[in-house]
Amino acid sequence: MDYQTAISAACRTLTARGSLTLTTGYTYALSADDILSFRFEEGVQGGDMLLGGAVGAHGQLTLASPAGAWLPGGERLGTRTLNGAAATLEIGVLAGDETLYQPCGRFIVSRIESGEGQDSVTLSGYDEMVHALAAPFSRWADLSAAAQRGACAHPGAERSAPMIRCRTATAR
């Protein structure tokens, strides 16, 4: 059974997993036991057309944090910091004897919330659209480099949309 079949079934068993990659490169693997909830919001309100839009998504992830495990000095976080970490989430669905996963979203942690005595911590932030492309535009090379970091693709090119040879714009 493939993922599409399993996720489309009337009855299904879902799970989640993910990772937190710190700015140092250190990566935490997140299991379903770590993840209490997550959500992603993307798109526009009111049904406006997106032509020319550069849509940023917002993500939120709540982790189990028994005894302050994800707080500074806690069992999981220790002396590290979650600010700027890349949070990646996948949805899993049980398909026969195995669990199949697909990427669900990714965001950069910019806000960390946990009340005193709470056994959870909530991380939130925006995706790379907001962070990677916030710099002032001066050269096509900068835009190209930022886009290439995300392997910019254009699946609609086969529709013979009016193509722009960015090279000729020479906005240097």
Binding site: S8, E42, G47, M49, L50, L51, G52, G53, A54, V55, G56, A57, A86, T88, Q102, P103, C104, G105, R106, D127, E128, M129, V130, A132, L133, A134, A135, P136, F137, D142, L143, A146, A147, R149, G150, A151, C152, A153, H154, P155, G156, E158, R159, S160, A161, P162, M163, I164, R165, C166, T168, A169, T170, A171, R172
Partner: protein, 132 residues
Amino acid sequence: MSIPARPDWGEGCTLRRALGMAAGAMGCFARVTPQGRIRLQSVWPASFRALAAGKCLSMSLSSLDFALNRVRAVNSGNEETPLAEAALNAALPAGASNTLELRDNALLRAGSAQSLTSGLLAALSGMTNYTL
């Protein structure tokens, strides 16, 4: 199509805004995929994935039908005089139900705006959105 001269990107133009301008001129919008990659997505893709109403837990429908007839390039403060305009049926007045507007896009400048706008209309021809 090529842009022979450097556009006036405006004061404080960010990489994100420049990407949006390029995307708009190509009939696209820009987003980040679930894998964290920047992607240009056509607003009228060549193929659609069907979503049956029976698969939805809840659904809200737009009250606005849309059938593309016209593409306009306008600059703020000068909306009544489009920089360029192309229509399948020029006799049909512009309106929210049939017109796409590219606003303040530095790539659409005198000399290139008309051909880009006409090309955009051709690329998005057939774009419709009807409520069920």
